[in-house]
Subunit: 696 residues, 2 copies
């Protein structure tokens, strides 16, 4: 059977795919991001993709169409005629019959699912940087020849007491027609009480803003009404920089190896954001709202952007090369306020952009936004905030003092460097229980609301089956393997258990735990099988031990710095934190002891911080001051790090005890499965009493 | 004989020209600006023009070349081989043989002569808005992770005590490489003690600036070393807006009639200025200087621009349409400081632009620059400043108070609306004497340093002959006609004088004075003849009476406003003022009585003001404050204007006497001709004593 070249855009992921493979399977095989909720059964339409015709000459488009199998009846039922004509297909139905480029629309990207979380309702005092003021301006008079702008400023001063306002150059052109059209009544937009950035004839009541969280993988934006603070649309796109490198360091390398490469990445992120703005406007204008006023680009007057230092620098047009090596010097650490046009953003002509300060070379404006969102500096409770990515950003403290550090945990928590690891996407194992007697696993898979031993699970997961294990899955897997005695406190898979279960399999010099058998596996494991199977290897456990040991040791260093013995609350920021169960994280020894009901996921706190900065000018000054006050710790150069790290490698820890875990019962039993996915939840089981079985 | 289409660029002037006409004659026929000092004898090379090939396909260029007569030996002698190959020709030698586009290079434009006056040496304290500071910056350290920018600002603060500096966005990109290349020593350019606008590795000692006077017809620029204030180059170009209308009001009309027309004019002026900058750089880098450092665009960090309100608005991208009618509302009156890139100027990326305030709807930033240059607000003497253009701007006062007005004199003083009027260009009569007995005239022509009755005059003026009479010529003509009794105090040409001289000729219901006979005139006037002749008509005198009456009445109104009876000094600003002889201006009743040695031409004072603003930051604040303090008078609405005007129509005046004229002898006699042109000079003849003959 022949193979064909398949390219997925915008990720740029490509590879050879066997003839007749459906596009969804091809995407999974190559690691391209295509969502599917129904398991590839042609039901959910989440996997809709588009035949990319953009780069082909017109006469080749038709032949391209023939590189996919004919449109099925399922597709005719679920895709509109217009969309079919434009080349939309269900990726689970269309089969590859020739070389082809497939465009994955933003709404069909799996990360969409994670990032397109509707914005939580914030209790932010709505005092944005942009004020709309409607004034009546004195008409010009031959005998007192002042300029229209000067009379406008007089009127503004009369209304607001604001003086010494500057004005965007391009508005000078709009000023005279607006005054005359509005019969000397105009509305002006004033930025930070200093600068006129918009002018309209007559009364104008609405102005809009943008809060954007620029992640390494995804870019999420909220479009807000500045007058009310209301979020009108939220949308996420893949970071188009992915084509230059999956992770940040590979992008920094790209810039080092390719002169001018940083400029390409700058152009890519700005283009992506302009595309995001278009999507947000479509969404805001198509979703029902109390008023029917259209949201237009020229009313987008303010925008806040948060991101890690590499994203922050590339977005600002700064080569990130210095962030690639010690001493990781930021070009600038301070907050930035600048015209949107300096960044080639297609907002209102006078729109302004704000970026919170970076905290340090590895702790960016996104971490500052998390701090603004969680405001530990207003809190008495000793708070630990962790944002897990390729690095974990750690903030510790309370109103007295805050310390910050970046912990080089590596990407293991994100499912990378794990034998069957993958990103949190449909098909990935996210929850794991293991029976300590039989060592049989039960698991849940993203996209299916059943445990693996529930009736109907096999039908629900469909042909694709289990594709791998994600970050939260691997944490629970190892924690429960430890609970079941499969893994020792040193992190070794105990080969002796092979006598109890065929799931403990020899893997060269070490052992592995076969959670899901592969289809061509001829062992007698009695469970659903998947294409590749899911094996937890000794290397996986080492990778997770290194990551969690690094994180834990870093937290301990920060605790030393401010002489703290006990953490009173823990906040997980970011997508990763939204998926893990705190008690398994603690059982694994990722985080120090803390009341479990005080361990919370705060979701996309960076995005929330961006929204606060957008709708509350005082919040900008607040975070700028707090970042200045904050002490930054470089964990790598601290003498005690190595000792802390060695002890923290053990599961859960060589020395430290976890008092609050003793109130928790870890249940492999059925009853736990009756509840929903524990994402974004905390549970308190102290009422159940009893000893935890972690003391084995 | 056939005719051909001839187009002159950049003026856009076009018309049909007879085969075999030389290009210089064609230019004069159509009114295009081509200089010639030698009278078209192939000697001076001032008339060098270029065959425009830019808009032709390559294969047509050769045929274009054949649309001019073959290159003459005079041209081979005077034009370099390289220039000949590029299509340069002497316009007096090349004859038209087909349709053709001729480019008149800036250096061959006649106005060049007037505007390319070398900058006078100013006694300005050299404290420009741009400061260059060289600092040593602390290196980044892993354990105190501040940004490079923050450490740079610390170093600047240590050196200069300046805090809270902002920075141009694009410099963020240059910062890190510059610091590392300079081994942590960098030079920054700081604008107005507020903003970092340039950065260089190591030591950088030179920064340059631009002072530009944007006139309706010509744009003159000076390139200055900001560190020393020295003028390195001065250059003038034709205002490329001329193709949209010769005078300001026709350009305002163009904008009214053509939607988007103002944007075209804005683009034209900005392009023209970019071209001027290129020329200035070439001149600065080719003329010998003490140091050999090249002046580059990226070192052009600051620029000041002055111009009348229409030019000011169009340059800023503001539609000038409101300036076309009452109440002549300015979009903005205040001074402007803005980034050069907002105006599409190709200077250094961070370059800034400053424009002084406008005084009123008809009294622009150029008038403010004149005030800054002459500084009457520092003077005890009661000073009258007049800048004659299509309107005359008038400033009157001293350190106690200044008043300003625009006087709608019309363009008569510039030679427009005059029968044989023309701009001050070679071939134009500029000085006139008339023998009161014989009524025979003597005159001087621009470009020829002889009086018309000097031996050799006919040879010097050559074939072209006298082409017309310019503004200063018409003033002397009418004043001396009045002295000779040809014109009465009411401004009527006395037909009875026809009996004395054949030069008094009947012109329908009125009479005219035939200063130069035309070639086909068969009367027996014994003088040089020219193609068209030069006739001073009754209408000419009426036009000048209207203009000078308006000016005089406006001055009187201002004198009333500040209760002043006597003017102590008069300053003529601008090109017009550089050409007139004060005593004839007073004799005509253009200006009020004043000691004649206190009447001075101050040349391009607007350009000088622009240079002061460029090299002295305090000067900017000074003129801004003075303009605020200044009282603006709208002469048209003042009740007493009409009476003043009627009296001022008489020559020299119906009521007012001119005491200081009584000390002057007006000499038609030969001895006056021994001196040079009186341009830019004052003369005192009181030692000669005797009554002036104006009391006739």
């Amino acid at each position: 059977m022949s193979t064909f070249k398949v390219v997925f855009t915008p990720s740029g992921i490509r590879g050879d795919i066997k003839e007749g493979t459906d596009v969804l399977s091809a995407a999974r095989e190559l690691g391209a991001d295509v969502a599917s909720l129904c398991g590839g059964n042609g039901l959910c339409t989440r996997c809709k993709v588009k035949l990319s015709t953009g780069s082909f000459p017109k006469h080749q488009i038709e032949s391209q169409t023939q590189h996919l199998s004919p449109i099925t009846s399922a597709e005719r039922e679920r895709i509109s005629e217009a969309d079919l004509e434009q080349g939309y297909r269900l990726s689970c139905s269309a089969k590859i019959q020739g070389d082809i480029v497939i465009d994955v629309p933003a709404e069909s990207q799996t990360h969409q699912q994670v990032i397109r979380k509707d914005a939580t309702v914030l209790d932010i005092e709505n005092k944005p940087a942009v004020k709309l003021i409607t004034v009546d301006v004195e008409e010009p008079d031959l005998n007192s020849p002042t300029g229209d702008l000067e009379r406008l400023k007089d009127a503004i001063e009369f209304e607001t007491s604001l003086t010494d306002l500057s004005i965007e150059t391009h508005l000078l052109r709009d000023l005279q027609p607006a005054l005359r059209k509005g019969k000397w009544t105009v509305t002006v937009a004033i930025y930070e009480n200093q600068r006129i950035i918009g002018i309209w004839s007559g009364k104008q009541e609405d102005a809009y803003g943008l809060a954007v969280d620029m992640g390494s993988t995804t870019i999420a934006g909220h479009l807000c009404n500045l007058a009310t603070g209301e979020v009108l649309a939220s949308h996420g796109i893949m970071n188009p920089q992915i084509r230059f490198g999956e992770d940040l360091m590979s992008r920094v390398s790209y810039s080092m190896m390719n002169p001018g490469g940083d400029l390409k990445m700058t152009a890519a992120i700005r283009e992506g954001i302009n595309h995001l703005v278009d999507q947000l406007l479509i969404e805001a204008n198509t979703s029902p709202r109390p008023d029917d006023k259209p949201v237009t680009k020229d009313l987008l007057l303010d925008a806040t952007f948060v991101g890690n230092p590499v994203m922050h620098h590339i977005f600002l047009g700064i080569d990130p090369v210095e962030l690639g090596g010690a001493p990781f010097a930021l070009a600038t650490q301070a907050s930035m306020t600048l015209p949107a046009r300096d960044l080639d953003l297609h907002l209102a002509a006078g729109a302004q952009v704000y970026l919170p300060p970076c905290i340090a070379g590895h702790v960016g404006a996104d971490a500052a936004a998390v701090v603004l969102s969680e405001a530990p500096y207003k809190n008495d409770a000793m708070t630990l905030i962790i944002d897990v990515g390729t690095n974990a950003e750690i903030i510790l403290g309370n109103k007295k003092k805050l310390v910050a550090a970046s912990s080089p945990t590596g990407p293991a928590f994100e499912g990378a460097q794990i034998h069957n690891g993958q990103r949190a996407a449909p098909g990935a194992i996210e929850r794991v229980r293991i029976d300590p007697e039989t060592l049989e696993p039960r698991y849940k898979v993203i996209g299916v609301d059943l445990w693996s031993d529930d009736p109907g699970f096999d039908e629900a997961i469909g042909e694709t089956g289990v594709t791998g294990i994600c970050g939260s899955g691997i944490i629970e897997a190892i924690a429960t393997m430890y609970l079941a005695g499969i893994v020792t406190t040193d992190g070794v898979i105990n080969g002796e258990k092979a006598s109890i279960s065929a799931r403990i399999v020899n893997d060269g010099k070490t052992w592995a735990y076969k959670m899901v058998a592969s289809k061509n596996d001829d062992s007698d494991i009695n469970s659903a099988r998947s294409e590749t199977g899911v094996l937890i290897t000794q290397n996986d456990i080492r990778a997770i031990q290194l990551a969690k040991g690094t994180l834990y040791a870093s937290v301990q260093l920060l605790m030393d710095k401010i002489h703290v013995k006990k953490i009173e609350q823990i906040r997980f920021a970011g997508a990763f934190g939204a998926h893990i169960d705190p008690k398994y994280a603690m059982l694994l020894g990722m985080i120090p002891d803390c009341p479990l009901d005080q361990v919370q996921s705060v979701g996309n706190a960076a995005g929330t911080g961006a929204r606060i900065a957008l709708t509350n000018l005082a919040g900008r000054r607040e975070i700028e001051n707090e970042v200045l006050r904050m002490e930054k710790i470089e964990t790598a150069t601290e003498a005690s790090f190595q000792d802390y790290f060695v002890n923290a490698m053990a599961i859960p820890h060589k020395i430290d005890t976890f008092e609050h875990l003793s109130q928790v019962v870890f249940l492999p039993a059925k009853e736990e499965s009756s509840s929903d996915s524990p994402r974004l939840r905390r549970r308190r089981r102290s009422s159940r009493g009893g000893k935890p079985n972690i003391s084995r």
